[in-house]
Structures are given as C-alpha cells and as structure tokens.
Subunit: 321 residues, 2 copies
C-alpha cells in the first residue's frame, strides 16, 4: 500500500514520457508546455489509489491515469480560453502564449491523446472503461456550460448549484477512483461505492473551498479572504444566503454585487453572519463527508487497505479552519 504522496510521485514519474510526437512542433510544443506546468495530479493519483484498494497496482492503470490527467488538462486549456485567463499555475496560459487557435487545437489534441492512452488497456473490458470515461467527459462539459449559464443568472437555486458542482468537479474525481478500481477487477457493488465516495468527497471539498474563502484563516489558506465575494462568484454560501435571508438582506446582497464598494466583503460577511451561513456550510460539508465515509466503509475489502483513502479524505476535507 502507498500513500497519496507516494502514488502521486509514481504517477509524475510515468507522466514524464512525452505523449506527443515532435512534429508539428507548433501544435505539440504548446501542449507539452502546458502539461509541464505540473499540478497536484490529484485525479490520476486517485486512479492509482482506487486500483490499489483491490490489490497490487496493475501496470495498465498508469495508462488510465495518464488518460484522466490528459482529459483534465484538456478541460483546463479550454476553460482558460473561455474564462480569458492569463495565468495557470503562475505561468502564461496557452492562449496567452501561443494564441487562442493553437490553444483550442492543443486542447483538442489532449482529449484525443487521452483516448490513445485508454486504447492501451487490454486487461479489462475496454467497453466498460470507455463507457464511464466518456459519460464523465460529457458530464464535465455539461458542468462547464451550466457554470457559464449561472454567471448570467441571478436566481440559481441550491439544487441547481449542487448539480453544477457535481458535474464540473465531482464526477471526474468519482470516475478516477472508480476506473482505477475497475482495473483492479472490483465488483459492480464496490465500483458504485467507490464512485459515491468520490462524488460526495468532491462536493464536500467544494463546500469547504467556498467556506474557507469567506471564513478561513488567510494565512493558512494561502488566499486573500473574500476573493469569491469580490468577484461576485456564485458559491454555496452566497446561494444559501440569498435563499434564506430576509427580503432586505436579499436586496442588499444584490445591491452589493452590482456595486464594488470598498467595504463590500465586510458587508457581505456581516449578512452571512446574521444568516448563520458558516454553521450551515460546516453542517452541509459534514453531511457529504459522512456520506463519503459511509460508502468507503461499505466497500468489501479489508479495512487496512482503506487507510490511504481515509487519509486522502481527511487531507482534502478536514483541513484546519
């Protein structure tokens, strides 16, 4: 058994291989550049963890993990174009550095390279792998579209927001684990449980992320407090506040979002406080963590094998506030 950190390093080693030929360099150099920017490689590492839960790591799981990381980077490259983001991991995005047409094509080539990696899998049913991978890919695109739709929509409900987060973030974490488990020969029941573990963990993580932005200790969190508020980002907190606060507070929140007053963050936080948003968010997060843990418990393997996933869960969603 290996820890997240150990598996993440193993994956990073494997992922150093080039996924692209040398030519045309005008297409492949930008893609290689982007992949070299690094990242925590959470998703492919989760595939290795999902695999190791059921036995020794099957070598083909590295192809799966690479496919997942390539797919994830495809979404990042295209999201950066859509968001007109200048930086990714502190470095210029592809469209900033090479132009938006090349960025578009670089994303395209990454998703194609992902399927190339999947096609190296021979030890389990490729149909089964493709079915979950492709369904997930579709859902992630749906999530991105909903996210863009919601930016222009003042009355997004909590359920709508939850569904968007599930699609945009959670399903890929869930599928990464579940596809890894598939490579380990897991039964249908175990595959479902590990998928649900990942899906619930992903939502809990997003609730926590939203919470920390407003209430976390900026020094520990490493981000400016209230960044989401400043950018009028829809979050679990804002949506809950809008759904539960008084008519006057609702009006004030809407007004604060339209203006950009110097004391905006302070005023929004004060409404959050009046509406007990922080307590609600912790409760919500804990509900999803509980659900996740329940599914992990229900996976029919020796509990000692679950330790790395328990540690990952604790690391992701029980960080100090």
């Amino acid at each position: 058994m290996h820890s997240f950190k150990e598996l993440s390093e193993k994956f990073a080693d494997h992922f150093k291989t080039s996924f692209f030929p040398a030519e045309p360099s005008s297409l492949y150099e930008p893609s290689s550049y982007f992949l070299s920017l690094g990242g925590k490689r959470i998703r492919p590492t989760m595939s290795l963890m999902g695999n190791e839960l059921f036995g020794d790591i099957h070598p083909e799981t590295y192809h799966l993990a690479a496919a997942i990381e390539l797919f994830h980077n495809f979404t990042l490259v295209h999201d950066d174009i859509m968001d007109n983001a200048a930086l990714r991991r502190g470095m210029p995005t592809i469209h900033e550095k090479y132009g938006s047409s090349t960025a578009l094509l670089s994303g395209d080539i990454m998703v194609i390279a992902a399927y190339e990696q999947l096609n190296k899998i021979k030890s389990v049913s490729l149909h089964q792998v493709l079915a979950l991978f492709t369904q997930t890919a579709r859902e992630v695109c749906e999530g991105q579209q909903l996210d863009m739709d919601f930016e222009k929509n003042d009355s997004v409900s909590l359920n709508q927001y939850l569904r968007m987060i599930e699609l945009k973030t959670s399903v890929l974490l869930a599928a990464s684990l579940s596809l890894g488990a598939m490579m380990g020969g897991a039964s249908k029941g175990n595959l479902d449980h590990i998928y649900e573990f990942g899906r619930n963990l992903g939502i809990a993580f997003q609730v926590q992320d939203d919470y920390l932005d407003a209430f976390g200790d900026p020094e520990k969190f490493g981000k400016e407090q209230g960044g989401d508020i400043k950018q009028n980002k829809k979050t679990f907190l804002l949506i809950h506040a809008l759904e539960t606060c008084s008519k006057d507070q609702h009006a004030e929140l809407m007004k604060l979002m339209k203006e950009n007053a110097a004391d905006k963050i302070e005023k929004v936080l004060s409404i959050y406080k009046d509406c007990n948003v922080a307590d609600w968010a912790i409760k919500l997060k804990n509900q999803y963590v509980d659900q996740a843990e329940k599914h992990l418990e229900n996976i029919a393997v020796l509990s000692s094998r679950k330790k790395p996933l328990q540690e990952l869960s604790a690391f992701l969603v029980q960080r100090e506030y």
Copy 2:
C-alpha cells in the same frame, strides 16, 4: 449493393436520431442545430460503402458512420471559431449564433459523442477501430495546425502543402472507408488498399478543387472564379507557380498577393498560364486518381462489388472542367 446516393440517404435517416439529451439545452441545442445544417455526409457514406464492399452492411457500421460524422462536425465547429467564419452551409455558425464559448464546448461534446458511438461497436475489435480513428483524429488536428502555420509562411513547398492536405482532408476520407471495411471483416491487405484508395482520391479531389477555382467554368462549378486568388489562399496552383516561375514572375506574384488590385485575379491567371500551371495540375490530379484506382483494383473482392466506389471516384474527381 447500393449507390452513394442510396447509402447517403440511409445514413441521413439514421443520423436523424438525437445524439444528445435535452438538458442542459444551452449546450445541446447549439450542437443539434449545427448537425441539422446537413451537408453531403460524404465521410459516413464512405464508411457504409467500405463496409458493403465486403458484404451486407453490418448494422453497427451506422454507429461508426455516426461517430465519423460527429467527429467531422467537431472539426468544422472548431475550425469555424479559428477562421472566425460567420456562415456554414449558408447559416450562422455556432459561435456567431451562440457565442464562442458555447461553440468551443459544442465541438468538445461532439468529439465525446463520437467516442460514445464507437463504444457501441461490439462485433469487431474495438481496439483496432479506436486505433485508426484516434490516429486519424490526431492527424486532422495536425493538418489544421499546419494550415494555420502556412498562412503566415511565404515559402511553403509543394511537399509540405501535400502533407498538410493529406492530414487535413485525405486521412479522414481514407479512414472512413477503411474503418467501414474493418466492420466488414476485411483483411489487413484489403484494409491498406482501401485506405490508400481514399487517401489518393482525397488528394486528387483537392488538386481538382484548386484547379476549378482558377480554371473551372464558374457556372458549372457554382463558385466565383479566382476566389482562392482573391483571398491569397495557398493552393496547389500557387505553390507550383511560385516554385517554377521566373524570378520576375515570382516577385510579381508576391507583390500581387500583398496588394489587392482590381485586376489581381486576371494577372495571377496570366502568370499561371505562362507557367503551364493548368496542365501540370491536371497531370498531378491524374497521377493521384491513377494511384487510387490501382489500389481499388488490388482489393481482393469481386469486381462487381467495386462499382459504387468507382462511380464515387468518377463523381468526385472527374467532374467536367
């Protein structure tokens, strides 16, 4: 056996099925709109023809054909963004109608939907199908990147241009036929021959397209004469002229492309005439047609089965000048 027209209608019937769920409609409505714009459905029909060359059409070939048409439309949607094209088949492009972010995601969802269709194939090795499909997808992206690179490059050689056309256009025609043949259980040798038939035919078609733009009868061709010249498009003709004309003619061609004089088309055509570009192009086209036909002849099936493909070849590359 069926003609191209009959198979194209069969495919159109099958392709009426929706490939997308209803929601989120902000994502799927634009994709459905684009697919509904029609087109000649040449590639999927070629898959059916490649399949029928070896026996009755296998029902799963329709999934393959749909995957190919979805992939082709993915490239069109993304190309339209890159080219900033306002119209496709006389109708507004997705990015014109719905914005470029939605267009980007619509393309993404189409390539994912293509793999969904491929995953329905159970009767032959999915690995073999995915290998050729994914290699082709990669090559088409390479071709698009080279095409963009060449726009900014004044000294593209004939070989470079040929390679770009091969990647951007020919390989998908070749793969459409070959994947269809694969569904019909064709041998490795036959798969190679039908691939080469399609690849050579595709190049011949492009040579002819470039030729007709300059020398075709606008009434029969249905396009304004010299459209490529007007837009300074790199074509087989221009590249050959630049490679073979005198130093003075070379300088004049470069000058004509920089300016946009009223008599530009006339003057370029006059240089083409001096350099015998028309004869050269017909000879080049015929070389590729000959190659294509040789490969078709070498396919080991009854010659009566080859008739629809011979007709298609005649239709595509022996149109009246």
